[in-house]
Amino acid sequence: MLILNHVTKEYDDVMVLKDFSFSIEKGKIYSILGPSGCGKTTILRLIAELEKPDKGQIELRGQKVSYVFQEPRLLPWETVRKNLELVCPKKESKKIEQLLELMELKEYSDAYPKELSGGMKQRVSIMRGFLYPHDILLMDEPFQALDLKLKAKLIREIYSLHQSMGNTILFVTHDLDEALLLGDEIIILSPKPTSIVKRFTIDASQKERGLENMQSIKEDMTKILNHASI
C-alpha cells in the first residue's frame, strides 16, 4: 500500500538513502530502528512529502498522511483545544474530548502550550496526529519526553486506538522495548547510506504476553544492532 521505490536522497553531498526500497501493508504498525543519523527521519519526511527524493518514487496511492513530529510543534498562541481543532474536520469535538480524557489532559484543554510540561505537549502532538484524518500515521520518536509509566500507558492506548481505527503506523524509535511493544513488524536499518538489515515480525499473541516473552527476539535484535555498529 505504501512503496518506496529505489529512492535516493542526498544532503550536502552526504548520501543518506541510496536506491532504497521498501513496502508496507495496510493496517499494521511498523517500528523502524537504526543508528543515529541513518535516515529514519528522512524516510518519514519523504513519505510526508516534506522532502522530494533525488531519484526514485514514493507511491502513496492517494492515502492521507498524518505526522507526530519529534518536537511537539504546537502553535504557542492557541490553546490545546484550538491546536487540536485546527487539524480536525468540523464536529469532531466529541472525539477531541475522548482523546483529552485518554491522554489525561482534560483539565488542560484551555491551557496554552507554554503552560504545559514537555511530556504534556508531546501528548497533545500525539493526539493531533491521531485526530487528523489519515491512512498512514508517521511517528518520529514520540515518547522521548515522557516518563516510563506514562510511556507504557501511551503505548497501550496507541495500540488500542490503532486497532479501532485500522490505520497504518510507521514508528521511528531508538528504544528496543518501545519497538517490540508497539510494532507488528520491526525494521532494522543500517548506517547511511541506509539499507534494511532485517525485518522481524511480531505476532499479536507474543505482544499480548508482554516483553518477558519476547526476550529471544530482543536478543536477536540486539545482536544485529550491535553488528550494524549502532
Binding site: A48, E49, L50, V65, S66, Y67, F69, E71, R73, L75, P76, W77, E78, L86, V87, R128, Y132
Partner: protein, 252 residues
C-alpha cells in the same frame, strides 16, 4: 530606588515640561517676541485659532491625506512584503523599487510629486506620504515572513491547512510584530511628511497654513501648527502601541 522613580515618573514629566516652558519664556525675552513668541502669546494664538472653522478644516484635510497615504502604503506594502519574503525571485524583482524608495531623498519626492500631481487637491501629498512610508512596511513584513517558524510551517503543510487557516493561525500571529513595528515607524513619518508635502504642493492643510504663516512671519502660528503635528504623531503612536499590546498579548 526603582520604585521611587516609577512612582514619580509623572512628577518628572511635569518638571520636564515646566523647565521647557521656562526656557521658552527666557528665550522669548532674550531674542524678542517677533523671533520667539512667548508661551502666553502662542496660547493666545491657539485660543483664537480654535474658534476659526478653517483651523479645524486644515487639520481634517491633513489628517485625511495622512491617513489615506498611510493606509495605501499599508494596503500595498503588506502583501508585497509578504510575497517578497516568501519568494526570493519576487524579492529580487522588486528589490530595485525598494532601494529606490529607501534611498531617494524626501526632497526629491517632494519636487517630483509637485511636478507630477501639481498643487490643489493634495494628490501630491498623498503620493509623497505613500512613497516614504511604503518601504518601511515592505521591509518589516518581508523580514517577518522570512522569520516564519519553519517547523510550524511544515506542520501546516503536513496537515494540509487551508489558506484561510494558514493566514489566520500561522502567518498573522507571526508577522504581526514586524508589521506593527513598520506601521509605527510609518506613522511617525506620515505627519512629518504631510506637513512637508503640503508646504510645497498644496493650498490647503496644515503644511499650506504653515507656509502662509511663514510668509507673514507669524511665528506663533508656526509653533501652534507644529504642536498640532506633534499631537497627531503622538496620538497615532499611542494608537499603534495599544493595538500592539492587545494583539501581542493574544498571540504571545
Amino acid at each position: 530606588m526603582k520604585d521611587f522613580i516609577i512612582r514619580n515618573k509623572r512628577a518628572y514629566l511635569l518638571i520636564s515640561i515646566f523647565i521647557f516652558i521656562i526656557i521658552w519664556q527666557i528665550s522669548s525675552v532674550i531674542v524678542g517676541p517677533l523671533i520667539m513668541p512667548s508661551p502666553i502669546e502662542t496660547i493666545k494664538t491657539l485660543a483664537y485659532f480654535i474658534t476659526q472653522p478653517d483651523f479645524w478644516k486644515d487639520i481634517a484635510i491633513s489628517m485625511g491625506r495622512g491617513v489615506l497615504g498611510f493606509f495605501l502604503a499599508v494596503l500595498i506594502g503588506t502583501p508585497l512584503g509578504f510575497w517578497m519574503g516568501l519568494r526570493e525571485e519576487i524579492e529580487a524583482f522588486f528589490y530595485p523599487f525598494l532601494v529606490l524608495t529607501q534611498t531617494t531623498p524626501t526632497v526629491s519626492w517632494l519636487i517630483l510629486g509637485w511636478l507630477w500631481f501639481g498643487t490643489g487637491d493634495g494628490a501630491a501629498a498623498i503620493f509623497i506620504i505613500w512613497i516614504i512610508v511604503i518601504p518601511f512596511i515592505i521591509v518589516n513584513v518581508m523580514e517577518g515572513t522570512k522569520q516564519l517558524d519553519q517547523q510550524l510551517m511544515e506542520m501546516a503543510k503536513v496537515f494540509r491547512m487551508p489558506l484561510k487557516k494558514k493566514i489566520l493561525h500561522f502567518y498573522i500571529p507571526q508577522i504581526f510584530p514586524y508589521w506593527i513595528a513598520g506601521c509605527s515607524i510609518g506613522s511617525g513619518l506620515t505627519w512629518k511628511g504631510v506637513a512637508m508635502a503640503e508646504l510645497l504642493t498644496a493650498r490647503t492643510g496644515i503644511g499650506a497654513a504653515m507656509g502662509v504663516a511663514r510668509i507673514n512671519l507669524e511665528i506663533a502660528q508656526v509653533i501652534v501648527w507644529s504642536g498640532i503635528l506633534v499631537l497627531l504623531g503622538y496620538g497615532s503612536s499611542i494608537l499603534i502601541k495599544r493595538l500592539e499590546v492587545v494583539f501581542t498579548k493574544k498571540w504571545r
